[in-house]
Subunit: 197 residues, 2 copies
């Protein structure tokens, strides 16, 4: 395409990233090459450094650079409070919110009969093991409001019911949300969970 | 954000690429880390290889890995026919079309009084030097149909008029284009350049 093998390969690799296509990959690579010292070299170095050090936290499944991640090691995090999320992106989203002060457990996906993902493919056995080991008193199921997410939530609830307090994120109107743009399911959920002013 | 310095830095670097933002950069980095051996390491290696070898062709300004690019060195390319483009992305677009068999000259931008870009900031003197050195017989000005692109085309035409045959790309209805979605300027241009069936 550019009549140069390495640059073509780099563009093809970039084009396979989520959110990029062939056109934006070409633009990105040209941008990087134009600013080689300032952008391409530092990015290549940082990728190599992350490739060498990134690893899954042995406790919660978060991605970090140490055996046990910073959140699991933080002493000021509330003990006994565990938030269960589908993947690392959800964990990071919760952290950006900054409202949660407990620890996490990343499942690594949701149960899915179609994709043949059962409890053993997820970190559900590890979650059950943590409840006793860390004397967890409350588990917040912060799974997606999708069919697979809710199936997974129900499965986990069945497994650990009685051992620990189980909660889930509230459903309702998002902050700044306009009723006119909300789907019917969300409006119904917000209505049935209405609270006194 | 992720409470890990290297991963945060990598996300910030990726987020500054054209076409990516913070959210898509996070997704891309998580995707890369999840497939470290298969994606992140090869991408980092390829970036380092391109960073080490990519350079501007000394003749035409194309980006390649040798002093003179493959297109300039290709013996089967038509001598004497030069296509002037604004940047390397335009050259690659022409090459994808596959219809042009001459050589290129990349200006590196367009004249712009606002951005203080004059002929010396572009590769216009090099273009004029090539006309005699390579005994060019025709120059195709394939510059954008923008005000800056057309200003640049007129400036180049003024400089080299009489020395060489000057042509420009045809303007008209794009292949597969629907008249209803075309702007008035394009329709007018296509009408005034109408040809016998």
């Amino acid at each position: 395409m550019t009549s140069n093998r390495d640059i073509d390969t780099l563009i093809q690799m970039m084009a396979k990233l989520p959110g990029l296509g062939p056109r934006s990959a070409r633009r990105a690579v040209l941008h990087l090459i134009a600013k080689r010292e300032l952008k391409l070299m530092p990015l290549a170095d940082m990728m190599q450094s992350v490739a060498a050090t990134a690893r899954e936290c042995a406790v919660c499944g978060n991605i970090g650079t140490s055996e046990v991640c910073d959140i699991c090691r933080a002493s000021k995090r509330a003990n006994g409070l565990l938030c269960v999320v589908e993947d690392v992106a959800d964990l990071w989203a919760m952290e950006r919110g900054g409202a949660f002060q407990g620890r996490y457990h990343v499942l690594g996906g949701t149960l899915s009969a179609l994709d043949r993902i059962g409890p053993e493919q997820l970190r559900i056995p590890a979650l059950i093991a943590r409840i006793e080991a860390e004397s967890i008193s409350e588990i917040i199921l912060a799974l997606g409001a999708t069919i697979d997410g809710q199936t997974t939530a129900h499965y986990i609830a069945d497994q650990i019911e009685g051992h620990v307090r189980l909660t889930t994120l509230a459903q309702g109107v998002p902050i700044g949300g306009d009723l006119d743009y909300l789907d019917d399911g969300t409006i119904s959920a917000a209505l049935s969970a209405r609270r006194a002013l």
